[in-house]
Symmetry: C2
Subunit: 418 residues, 2 copies
């Protein structure tokens, strides 16, 4: 089955707004093995919308239209769809009843404009919208269907799940496409690509995508077919990928973050972490505390931007800073150890570097960052990295490198999961 | 003049990618008074691309196509455009020379595939691409033109500025649309809207848009016409808006951030600030240090997540926390004063609150945040806010409220600009 998405709304043609609903719809389509062939954005213009509906419905079996179902004069998707199909609009008493009830519940009275929201293309199935006043519609066509959905993102998402998904499921009969994502931090894309080369051979290159982000690589595995079949295929692919990538894999799922994984590890071990940051300016602490319940493992941290504060707050010897420079291995180590002692935590993390744009030198160019992790009963570990990009990117990558150092260390602490 | 944008690339129909080039192009079009009537995304399919080019070129005077100009087999925009217009492709020696020179400079030899990048639609003007190997093309049509540009965002942006903008400027003769944005922090949209009501009356509602973001309102002013005319109109609108909004306006321009404005203020006064954060977990420090050169006004800060650390690091009396709770006015004040003393800074900022999801109570619900600002020679100021949303939103809004408190205080310090 082929699908097209039409987003309606003049604001989507402005400098401020993108049609993001289509990403959500694309995911749904993909899950049911439907191929998306076109995305179109059009303004609130009845003739233009009608033209697009006629054309896209001829090109694809499924057309999903989002937006233009509101009560105001510029909401003309209903009229446009009727025009495109050469069908009349009719008043739907059920739709009107639902609108009246919704207003009554809010102790308000619908306006004459709301009447238009109860108009339905002749022959269309009405789709209830429990999230707003605009009901949706499904018009069956000889080859498939046209769905009219509201444009408000959470309303569209709710109705797509309630109405579009079952429709697709009935047609795909469990046949579809599914993905699983493994995440890897702070490794070059080429290295990941090389490591998983046997996966390409075993399963076929087209079922594996490597997506590169800021300090994160996503290895995306795909499978098609009936539900049980694709699950077992994905499981086999994941197992092989984990074998090939080893402990570089920090998590599964697109939304999994390094700080969440670190939080889990700290909680499992009953360990706590304190931070001492320079170039990251608090970003590592901020990321650690994004996770709900972070007070269970994070007593606190310091941002020591000046050298004097590195000495006063963390006990980094003045002479060490004078001799080695604030951005150096011994200072990073002393910061990590100072943070651990200061906050009486299991672990201490130190980050010192040059985020730029100024402050670089031939020996220590912008992007040089020293990281150290201190623990009670073992030597402090250290890493130095040279990070590319502008100030904001360097700071982000430094926080990634710091959390990744922490994650790896947690795996080797006593009591860690294998 | 009417315009359409066609984005070419199968990846733009996937779950991971949106066509963001169109936002950049929209801004350019708008500046020259061109109305955007359609945005279309299509995959790497010659027939489908040709169909869209033919249709969109008939509908709008200007068509900008981005993507599909690379050397690989799936880059078929050139062929599709020739097909849509019924014109042959010809080899362009100039384009080929440029590609050869580019490869020679990198000590590489172009492949047979690169030959395709030197093919030009008959009659088209070649557009040099100093940023990549894919040259662009401009095909003049009876009513306007079709621009073929590469899809890589920085190449497209470069070529749009070098080739599309002058073409538009020649046609608009300085006539266009221009905007100016005033930014306001931590005020309800309805309040801003009410305050600027006289502006609507004086200049007409359609020239003013109020855009609401997370803890920031943008008041966008528009003017159309010849360059000098619209500038003077915008100046008059801005002056009136500033009169109506007073010191609530923190800056001009969409990209201006509260931390940048605060940084300017601190530098102008030669003042420094230290932070003591609880619920924001380092976000205020992180935002203050996003600004290059922040070491000139930011010696450092602490994140005291635990009560013990509020006492140990900031000298907040244990008894005060026990009596009033960690989220309270006196503790926020003591944190701000503690930070100022600890870092020997001009100012100290304290933030303590409940970001959730847990930790709320009927008296202090999730979203309750106390802010305090300490200075040497004046009483510490305090504000309490009740912020809506989830953990991440509450933390962001708390950092906005803290920076806004700081900004307002800077305006009243000795030596501040009026």
């Amino acid at each position: 089955m082929r699908a097209a998405i039409l987003a309606v709304g003049s604001e989507l043609l402005s400098v401020d707004r993108l049609d993001t609903n289509s990403l959500h719809l694309t995911e749904l389509l993909e899950r049911h093995g439907v191929e998306l062939v076109r995305k179109v954005v059009v303004g609130d213009d009845e003739v233009a919308i009608a033209g697009e509906i006629a054309r896209l419905a001829a090109e694809a079996e499924l057309l999903v239209v989002g937006g233009g179902l509101g009560p105001t004069a510029d909401d003309v998707t209903r009229e446009a769809c009727a025009r495109a199909l050469g069908l009349p609009l009719r008043d739907d008493p059920e739709a009107w009843g639902a609108i009246e009830r919704r207003f009554a519940a809010l102790a308000r009275v619908p306006s004459a404009n709301n009447r238009r929201q109860a108009q339905v293309v002749a022959g269309a199935a009405l789709l209830a919208n429990p999230w707003g006043t605009a009901p949706g519609q499904r018009i069956d066509t000889p080859r498939g269907a046209i769905f009219l959905l509201p444009g408000v993102p959470f309303e569209l998402a709710g109705m797509a799940a309630a109405e579009l998904e079952p429709w697709l499921a009935a047609r795909s009969a469990g046949h579809g496409r599914e993905r699983r994502t493994l995440k890897v931090a702070m490794r070059p894309e080429s290295e990941v690509d090389e490591a998983i080369a046997p996966l390409y051979e075993q399963f076929g290159r087209r079922w594996i995508t490597v997506l590169s982000g800021a300090g994160e690589i996503r290895v995306r595995l795909w499978a098609e077919g009936a539900s049980a079949e694709r699950r077992s295929r994905l499981a086999a692919m994941e197992a092989r990928a984990r074998e090939l990538l080893g402990e570089a894999v920090f998590g599964t799922g697109d939304a999994t973050t390094l700080e969440e994984v670190v939080a889990e590890g700290l909680l499992r071990l009953g360990a706590s972490i304190a931070t001492a940051e320079s170039c990251t300016g608090g970003l590592v602490a901020e990321r650690l505390t994004r996770v709900p319940g972070s007070s269970r493992y994070f007593p606190g941290g310091v941002v020591t931007y000046s050298n004097a504060e590195k000495t006063a707050l963390l006990g980094v010897p003045e002479a060490l800073i004078a001799e080695q420079g604030a951005v150096s291995e011994p200072v990073a180590r002393a910061m990590a150890e100072g943070a651990r002692l200061r906050f009486s935590s299991t672990l201490g993390l130190g980050v010192t570097g040059i985020a730029g744009p100024d402050g670089g030198s031939p020996e220590k160019p912008v992007g040089t960052v020293h990281l150290a992790l201190a623990a009670a009963d073992r030597p402090t570990t250290h890493r130095v990295v040279r990070l590319p990009g502008d100030r904001s990117r360097i700071r982000w990558l430094a926080s990634q490198a710091a959390l990744e150092l922490l994650r790896r260390s947690l795996r080797s602490l006593p009591g860690a999961a294998p």
